[in-house]
């Protein structure tokens, strides 16, 4: 049977009324429409407004106060350290800090290159001794486990967060 499409919010045409009399599926839908229309709204708890007001006050008080002063304090402490260093050292402090920092960066670069080199040697060894299909399945399995681990961490954090609030 072909069901006519109609908007139950509008007055029903003669054909639709006739169809409804004989089609149990459309009749059930029409009755569902009536039931939905008759369903009353669920009222909020009596102290909803009171509790909202409390929450609003709490929310407004919370984020403003402890923002600026820790930053100011930190800045002041840093300034004091730099000033003290300058007063004690024969050369200005940045003259010594910048070369030290550059050396550190170069060291990091060297470590990175060395690790890459090791990784390549390892890969070459693996490629020579492990059949490609087995290696591929090993790799995809490893990736899958890693992905699942990432997901589980994400959900655990989300879960903890939703329960903390």
């Amino acid at each position: 049977m072909k069901h006519p499409s109609f908007d139950p919010f509008l007055p029903l045409s003669k054909e639709v009324q006739e169809h409804l009399r004989h089609c149990s599926s459309c009749q059930a839908m029409w009755q569902m429409h009536q039931l939905l229309r008759a369903a009353p709204p669920v009222p909020p708890p009596a102290d909803f407004l009171e509790r909202f007001e409390k929450r609003l006050i709490r929310e407004k008080r919370a984020p403003q106060a402890p923002r600026l002063w820790p930053l100011l304090l930190l800045g002041l402490v840093l300034l004091l350290i730099v000033a003290a260093g300058n007063a004690v050292a024969p050369r200005p402090i940045w003259v010594r800090v910048i070369p030290g920092f550059m050396m550190l960066l170069m060291d990091w670069g060297r470590y990175l290159l060395a690790s890459l080199h090791t990784a390549f040697i390892l890969l070459e060894f693996l490629a020579r001794h492990i059949p490609p299909l087995f290696g591929l399945s090993l790799l995809s399995g490893g990736l899958l486990v890693f992905g699942m681990w990432c997901l589980s961490v994400r959900y655990a954090v989300q879960f903890a967060w939703s329960h903390m609030r």
Binding site: S5, P8, Q17, L20, R21, S25, Q27, A28, M29, W30, Q31, M32, H33, Q34, L35, L36, R37, A38, A39, P40, P41, V42, P43, P44, P45, F48, L49, R51, F52, E53, R55, L56, E59, Y155, A156, Q158, F159, S162
Partner: protein, 199 residues
Amino acid sequence: MSMDEQTLLACARQKDDQAFLRLVELYQRPVYNLCYRMLGDAQEAEDAAQETFLRAYHHLDRYDSRRSFASWLLSIAAHHCIDILRRRRSLSFLEASVEDDELSLPPDPFQPDPQLVAERNEQHRLLQRLLLRLSPLDRAIIILRYWHELPEAEIARNLNLTVTVVKVRLHRARRHLARLWSQEYTLPLTGNAHEASLL
């Protein structure tokens, strides 16, 4: 929107908290009902309704005063509840599903027959349970259309859909609810002779 509400909104925009609280008082019923119907749990519904008003409070400057304020609030609430439901679904393997609350409805002053009242209440309780089986989006569309009487175009705008999509989903959801009802309940859909005679 009445003159009074216009004034309240204007005051609330000037950061007059008392005016905003008055607006909350005026709109707590529709917002709470939407959240309850979406989430099916009284505590979660209250949290979601409060969150809706807080968001409205912080983003009052984004409200376009040519639109209805109620519709704007309902759209915030609907998006928030859809988010909650999607998060709940993605977390469902960690968390036991939320049990459905006993729906407590206000007494109907126009219905003197206690047996009919009981039957009606039972129908509405079952309806709420079926509602929770719809997808979050379909649920929002049904609730906005039936309980809040928003026109399809307004629903489409609130949920960033086209009017055709809203129409199709509305139709499909109604049919789906009717089918679920006949599969799972023995209680007839129509409770009284008056409605049956409409056919």
